[in-house]
């Protein structure tokens, strides 16, 4: 891979760092979504059991696959995968609004919200050599 998902997230953060006008906000969300999409695709491929579902296009298909994980996965892994689907779906919607709905205001808060979502996706979906890293529950640690 010549461009890692993390590089796309870095690009999103760079745009965020110098974002001034609405078109900048929209551009940052676009990069944040694609970074997250590729990150989640890697996460999904690393699952020990896959649920290959259909969707209208690769984006919908990936969200569906995360939203309906294989029942063979552990309860914890299913819950984490389903929660991840909520975040990716949310970001997918934000990206659709950013890129296509130019008549509706897209403000700074929406960009910040989307970047936080993307960062969280990266934090909870790390993989090493094709296997998903275990993330201890933050509440269990407390």
């Amino acid at each position: 891979m010549t461009c890692a998902p993390l590089s796309l997230l870095d690009a999103a953060k760079k745009i965020q760092g110098c974002a001034v006008v609405e078109s900048d906000f929209r551009a940052a969300v676009n990069r944040a979504y694609y970074a997250s999409y590729h990150r989640c695709r890697t996460y999904y491929a690393a699952l020990p059991y896959l649920s290959v579902l259909k969707g209208n296009g690769v984006h919908e298909q990936l969200i569906n696959n995360l939203k309906f994980p294989s029942g063979k996965l552990s309860d914890n892994c299913q819950e984490r995968t389903e929660a991840l689907a909520k975040y990716l779906r949310d970001l997918c919607m934000a990206r659709a609004l950013a890129d296509y709905d130019l008549d509706e205001e897209f403000d700074l808060k929406k960009m910040q919200d989307s970047l936080l979502t993307a960062e969280l996706i990266f934090e909870v979906s790390s993989t090493t050599k094709g296997k998903i890293d275990d993330v201890a529950s933050p509440l269990a640690q407390a």
Partner: protein, 250 residues
């Protein structure tokens, strides 16, 4: 918009609201709550309809929906007060019983009953999307009340839900799972539920209901995992065009 119970006894109402704004269930054994209960009971001795209503709100703050319902029903049996209907409805939402709240809204929001305008702002945050629009249309057709304004993002969500053929009952079943998670954490459902809607054919068509909660991003992710578990326990039917999630409060 906040799901804040409103009563006629303003001083006591302010005290009850200040407990509600702490966002977590109150402890019935605390000095403050025991004192509040006594004050509610004193009001009940003078004005039973108002007093029972206050006791309903008091029990709602403890997270006790059964006792809250008993008190509100006792109040409504004495006087059919729209404010008590609103408080009862708000308590169901605060405690995350959204299907119960939707059924109640269906029952008491008929335009001819005179409760619609007081319930409507709460209802926008409690999942009764299409029912609200139907009720407003009915009220306008009957010339029963002035035109009620519904906000733009709410109406967009209604359009999308109709387009993808998802009912209010489908929506509130999802919200009930949110209620399960919040009650487990002894947290009130924030009445500021956000609604995001997107209607771009071929790209994305869907609605998301968002509940803002205090906590770090990872703690909120943990709540979303618990939400996924609650959805599975309830065997909730999932659909790409609709979802609910927690997000960190700003």
């Amino acid at each position: 918009m906040k799901l804040v119970p409103q009563t006629r006894s303003s001083e006591l109402t302010d005290k009850l609201n200040s407990v509600l704004h702490r966002a977590i269930f109150a402890d019935r054994n605390s000095f403050e709550m025991r004192a509040l209960k006594r004050e509610c009971e004193q009001v009940r001795d003078v004005d039973p309809a108002v007093g029972w209503g206050l006791l309903g709100s008091y029990n709602g703050l403890l997270g006790d929906i059964e006792e809250a319902a008993r008190c509100y029903k006792a109040s409504l049996a004495l006087a059919n007060n729209p404010i008590v209907h609103l408080n009862y409805y708000a308590a169901m939402g605060n405690l995350g019983y959204f299907s119960m709240a939707h059924d109640y809204f269906l029952e008491v929001s008929k335009p001819e009953l005179g409760n619609l305008s007081s319930l409507i702002s709460n209802a926008e945050s409690m999942g009764s999307f299409q029912t609200i629009v139907q009720r407003v249309e009915q009220a306008e057709a009957m010339n029963l009340q002035p035109k009620l304004q519904l906000n733009g993002s709410f109406l967009k969500a209604v359009r999308v839900l109709r387009k993808v053929d998802l009912s209010d009952e489908f929506v509130v079943r999802h919200l009930d799972a949110v209620g399960d998670v919040l009650r487990e954490a002894k947290m009130f459902a924030d009445g500021d539920m956000e609604v995001d809607a997107c209607d771009i054919d071929g790209v994305f068509v869907g609605v998301t209901c968002i509940f803002r909660v205090d906590g770090t991003a990872l703690e909120v992710f943990e709540l979303n995992q618990q939400l996924a578990k609650a959805e599975r326990v309830r065997s909730i039917e999932k659909h790409l065009a609709f979802d609910v999630m927690f997000k960190p409060a700003a």
